[in-house]
Amino acid sequence: MRSVRIAHIASNTFREAVRDRVLYNLIAFAVLMSGAAILVGQISIGIERLVVINLGLTAVSLFGMVIAIFIGIGLVSKEIEKRTLYTVLSRPVQRWEFIVGKFFGLVGTLVVNTFFMAIGVFVALLWVSRRFQMADGWVLVALYFIVLQFLIITALALLFSSFSSPLLSAVFAFSLFVIGSFAEDLRGFAAMAQGAARWLATGTAYLVPNFSTLNVVSSVAHGQPVAAQLVFSNTLYALVYAGMAVSGAVLIFEHRNLK
């Protein structure tokens, strides 16, 4: 019964995103990919695959991040603001079920969106190199890691919006996306630093989401394989990180007076 309610909330969240024309970003993506494919195809100096995979996957990630952040921050706060929550929470729906449902609704939207973008990337790849190679399979793994990044950033947007204004939440979430992309560098820096700076850098490096290890775009673009061990550890990391952020959002929301 509980999981059924969460599924209903999630599917309504998906429906909202579709009706709010979120999937229209796919048109922009399609234009970008076909433009890139045609252009690169004309240069034809042997780096077509490299460019298409790099550009394609980076675009998939950025488009998705923007959607995750901008919808994520409003996911719950908009429902409080507009008071649409009143008639939901006066039903046998518990607050945590609502948060979890909303979370899965947006993650589902991002998965569907990424699925269509992935088709675009593979079509572009086929266009420039005329046939698929074995190494193209790794692109799927890179896409999977991008989805794991969405999981984390959606959870963070949800967490921030449970205690701060939408604008601040967007700033926080975006900052963490940028800092998290340099998480490995931060860890490197922490190892070299001394004293207080070391503690600060180490703390930050481990607290921010580690998007560096979730980003295998350039190695995949060079046709390098991804270790099964990395797939496993990244999956675990993303699930734990997102799980904790969603739990934090639930804890805050459970005690909140609605406007």
């Binding site: 209903h8 507009k82 008071r83 009143y86 008639t87 929470l89 006066s90 046998p92 609605l258």
Partner: protein, 313 residues
């Protein structure tokens, strides 16, 4: 067993961004509503009616006290499946059609899948919106949204209903329909708890009322009992400028306007005044209650603290 038991529920908000000041919206409230009653929760704007309903719905948390609905705690999902709630000025997911919204709410309330579409179309007809199920809610007028709000509250056939200002935003016909609906619900054995600041909405409908003002309960009881100590007033208008001598004793106000004369008299003297006018063969234009007894009671009950509040601020 009481359908609703409010045990000292209280709410203090802290207001202000920097230096938070406590703002008492509801003082400890004790109230019990019997099963099968239509119970009116009356008070002027800002009295604490919405706060009470939000506390009961678990939308805000009490500073003190507790409540039980159908004998269960207010956060019990089993209880929530058996109540319906119409918020004040309800607002819904405007990207959905009325039918989609109600289907979604039916799912959340645990209505069996095979009954959903029948219940949804039944309830839409019941609130007078049989033909707009397929229209997006963003195109709905305020009155139509109010009706959708009532539909979603009664959709899953709940045992206890909470309506916050159910008549607001409705035209006179709509108000009449909501009244009828509440009476039907009572006939079906449901308990209805509704708030209003419009006394005439409550007067003949409620089995009992509670009067609340500045977050404080001022009186509970049947309307007739509460108002037995006070009287309403009626306005009598007749043609001509003649004022029968016997009438001067009753009329609190009496003045001529052009070719008619207008007098305001206590409700109890209404018949005597009419008799006096007829003896003089004066043509009566109208007899209209200007202040019902409940309104009179309200004015009396609420005056002392309003004066006190005036002194304080």
């Amino acid at each position: 067993m009481a359908a609703i038991d409010i045990l000292g529920l209280a709410k203090t908000y802290s207001v202000g961004f920097w230096r938070k000041k406590p703002k008492c919206a509801l003082q400890p409230l004790h109230l019990s509503v019997e099963a099968g009653e239509i119970f009116g929760f009356l008070g002027p704007n800002g009295a604490g009616k919405t706060t009470t309903l939000k506390l009961l719905m678990g939308l805000v948390f009490p500073s003190a006290g507790s409540a039980r609905i159908l004998g269960m705690e207010i956060n019990d999902p089993q209880m929530k499946a058996r109540i319906g709630f119409l918020p004040e000025q309800p607002y819904f997911y405007d990207y959905l059609t009325a039918t989609e919204l109600l289907e979604y709410y039916a799912q959340l309330s645990g209505v069996a899948a095979k009954e959903r579409s029948r219940k949804v179309s039944e309830v839409l007809a019941r609130v007078g919106l049989p033909d707009v199920g397929g229209m997006q809610l963003r195109k709905f007028s305020k009155g139509m949204l109010q009706r959708v709000g009532i539909a979603q509250a009664i959709l899953h056939d709940p045992q206890v209903l909470f309506f916050d200002e159910p008549m607001s935003g409705l035209d006179p016909i709509g108000r009449r329909e909501v009244r009828d609906l509440m009476e039907q619900l009572k006939q079906q054995g449901k308990t209805v708890f509704f708030s209003t600041h419009i006394l005439s909405d409550a007067e003949s409908l409620c089995d009992r009322v509670a009067i609340i003002h500045l977050g404080e309960l001022r009186g509970v009881g049947a309307v007739a009992d509460l108002t037995s100590s006070v009287q309403g007033q009626v306005e009598v208008v007749w043609q001509g400028n003649l004022v029968p001598a016997s009438l001067k004793a009753f009329a609190t106000e009496c003045h001529g306007t052009g070719d008619t004369t207008r007098a305001v008299v206590p409700e109890a003297n209404q018949d005597a005044v009419i008799d006096a006018l007829r003896r003089e063969r004066l043509r009566i234009v109208s007899v209209i209650p200007v202040r019902t007894s409940l309104e009179e009671y309200f004015v009396l009950k609420l005056k002392p603290s309003e004066a006190a509040a005036g002194v304080r601020s």
